[in-house]
Symmetry: D3
Subunit: 69 residues, 6 copies
């Protein structure tokens, strides 16, 4: 499948924390650079990801804000 979302950042799952409904998935996309995602627990289970799995963070361009110091 190919998706319209512009940002597809390849990495490895570093940590998954399961809540009752949601799961917090941390993906390391470059050495020392991590992206945290909250998805439903059932989505995480369907994907079959675990720590060390290859995974992508997928983000729509319109959901990325820009900030400066």
């Amino acid at each position: 499948m190919k998706v319209s979302a512009r940002n597809l950042l390849k990495g490895k799952v570093k940590k998954i924390v399961f809540g009752a409904v949601n799961a917090e998935v941390t993906i390391e996309i470059a050495p020392g650079v991590e992206v945290t995602s909250i998805i439903t627990k059932s989505s995480a289970e369907n994907l079959g990801i675990k720590e060390g799995s290859d995974a992508y963070a997928l983000i729509k361009a319109s959901d990325v804000m820009v900030a400066i110091d």
Copy 2:
């Protein structure tokens, strides 16, 4: 200012394309890893960013999806 959004990825603005209303801002957050953002043109102007500026990509964890091959 400190913001609740979980992902604050530091980088440098690599490219800005201005449309009539929106601007597409590409930030390099690690060597060879880029994040593309669409913000309003007036926001980009208010921030005063240009190619080469230090900038952050700021993303809520609930806006990050996870994908696998």
Copy 3:
């Protein structure tokens, strides 16, 4: 690729309207039921979709609101 977003609605592209930056894509997901999407023009071009193409509308569960009359 397999994505964490919960709603993957299969259909056919019924209409695409290109703007300067964005494209408005209408997908018929059941007879008489259409979903309208706004994605960047370059995303639409990368996907190579045109009227009549098979396509999916992909939506995160947290982006779906519920309404009643």
Copy 4:
């Protein structure tokens, strides 16, 4: 009330699962076509929806991605 969101998909509530804070609401919008929504538990209670209720899935066009096989 009339809302600017472009996609208003009429259907029937097929399932509601209540968590501590959130509720997962599944709406059947065409025979065999379901949309899953996550809203706060208090919103679900305020709407007074239950299985079998008429309801709409309401989605902004900019929250709909497009995917192809």
Copy 5:
């Protein structure tokens, strides 16, 4: 219609700027407090709003971030 989104802020349309595809709508929700919205031009036209119209800003709780100085 009653919608699950938690924040329904009543006010008056103060300004509408139409682009080719989108419209920027500014609603004054309290004296001196304004909320800016970007919706599609066709949504703005369908709502029939103009400067001075009564209108609501409608926002999902999960789309509101919190910041501090």
Copy 6:
């Protein structure tokens, strides 16, 4: 830090309800006008906010819908 999101509404935290993973933060942005936010519990803790704290509600313009009666 300065952020591209268009709506930065100054107020005071009126209530925080902590769940297992999320926190619901209510900010009064004008007398009698409240905005409710759902952020992760760890974000709320990192910000160090409590009832009575000065805080901002920060919202992207593209996440604000418009509604009329």
